[in-house]
Amino acid sequence: MSLRPRIMPTLLLKEDALVKTIKFSKPNYLGDPINALKIFNGKGVDEVCILDIDASYKKKEPNFGYLKDIASEAFMPLSYGGGITNLNQIKEIFYIGYEKVIINSSFIENPNLIKEAANFAGSQSIVVSIDYKKNLFGQRFCYSHGGKAKQKIGPVELAVKAQEYGAGEIFLNSIDRDGTMQGYDIEIIKEVVDALTIPVTACGGAKNVADIKKVLLEGKAHAAAAGSMFVYYGPHKAVLINVPSEKDLFDNNIY
């Protein structure tokens, strides 16, 4: 476990609204992402990850004007992913106030973009996200374009390739666990972590602090990302932006 692991809310955008998906589908409208960010500001979260889940699939450019408005409201480091296809867009994302870019579909289509981006900004600012799903035989395959395009490569293999191309961090996301709150896919997370020297942020399935502890300790993830647990509250999943308290994390020996 790193000295102080990052715990990272992941906010999903669809047509500039905040949504939460289950297994990458059924987007549930939650409200205004800027309101969510304002609450995260007050709670002092380590980092927030913003993903436009439609952009790559619909071949849309990042909505820079809107993303700039979001960044101006964030008093914490931000990363953005969705619809990034070239270096100029990456430069623009940094310019409008984001610390990291997250690239998924474009890494699969044009891996050299990662090289270019890392040369421009340094590896630390370039995150490759890997979405994967298990098939009936228990084999895991990567998906691009918002989970819609199946690839022939598995997550460990793709993560190693991303590291070779200069990614500074892997954002590993289980499509099967997305929005299910059934806990992280510890086994594969650990496999990816063990195969790499760069940090891995695990995402998909977190329900509570115990899950976060497990993914950091057993999965050996460097950071824990989650969606549902930060936007839903209680057994009936009422929409409520919430963050585990510093005390809660200390009491669970996460810090």
């Binding site: 002092g44 700039k68 101006s72 008093f75 106030g97 610390e99 630390q124």
Partner: protein
């Protein structure tokens, strides 16, 4: 009134919004008439040293900054690249900085054993080296968010306000009387950064 200097080096909306949240009036501006009236100036900046110097020169802001800080002795805060521009020069470029504080910026240089990467990116702690109102009530558990490959090397310890450790100790905040600079991003360091900006904003406009 606090003026956040706009010379085209990155988004400074979060500095403005953090000050607003703290209840302090500020504007983002490159208008000489507004800058002349400013009680305090913030010099932000993200990017490379020479680009920063060039853009600052082109913007015509340099005489205004020097007048504010050196003649009128009003508070000036540099953030990230804005801090490095307060120094004399940087290994990153060939151009001269504003030379308001005697330091230069050097690239992180580690022995291999550390396996550390540049840029230094992420949350880090700070330790007070000297006292100033800017770091009032800053405790040892305060964390700040850093993104930088170059760091200040002061000619005298008197100008080091805070130090941090990344491979080795480096000056993470510098100062000389009314002129202050922080390497980290207070505007991205939520409650910890708010304390720094609040300290800066609350100070009366006289020599520290």
């Amino acid at each position: 009134m606090i003026v956040i200097l706009d010379y085209g080096m990155g988004n400074v909306g979060s500095i403005l919004n953090m000050l607003k949240k703290l209840g302090h009036k500020s504007v983002i501006s490159s208008d000489p008439n507004i800058i002349k009236e400013a009680g305090k100036l913030i010099l932000p900046g993200v990017g490379s040293f020479d680009t920063g110097v060039e853009k600052l020169t082109k913007s015509g802001l340099i005489p205004l900054i020097l007048n504010h800080a050196k003649v009128e002795k009003k508070p000036l805060l540099g953030i990230c690249l804005g801090m490095q521009l307060l120094g004399e020069k940087s290994e990153e470029g060939k151009l001269a900085g504003l030379s308001l504080i005697p330091f230069e910026s050097k690239k992180f240089n580690f022995e291999d054993k550390h396996n550390l990467k540049t840029p230094h990116m992420g949350w880090n702690l700070v330790r007070k080296v000297n006292e100033s109102y800017l770091v009032n009530s800053i405790d040892s558990d305060f964390r700040f968010y850093f993104v930088h490959s170059f760091h200040a090397v002061c000619k005298s310890n008197e100008n080091i306000l805070l130090e941090s450790i990344y491979g080795y100790k480096f000056a993470s905040a510098v100062f000389l009387e009314n002129i202050l600079g922080v390497q980290f991003h207070p505007e991205k360091s939520h409650k910890f950064g708010m304390k720094i900006l609040d300290n800066f904003a609350r100070r009366d406009n006289f020599v520290s």
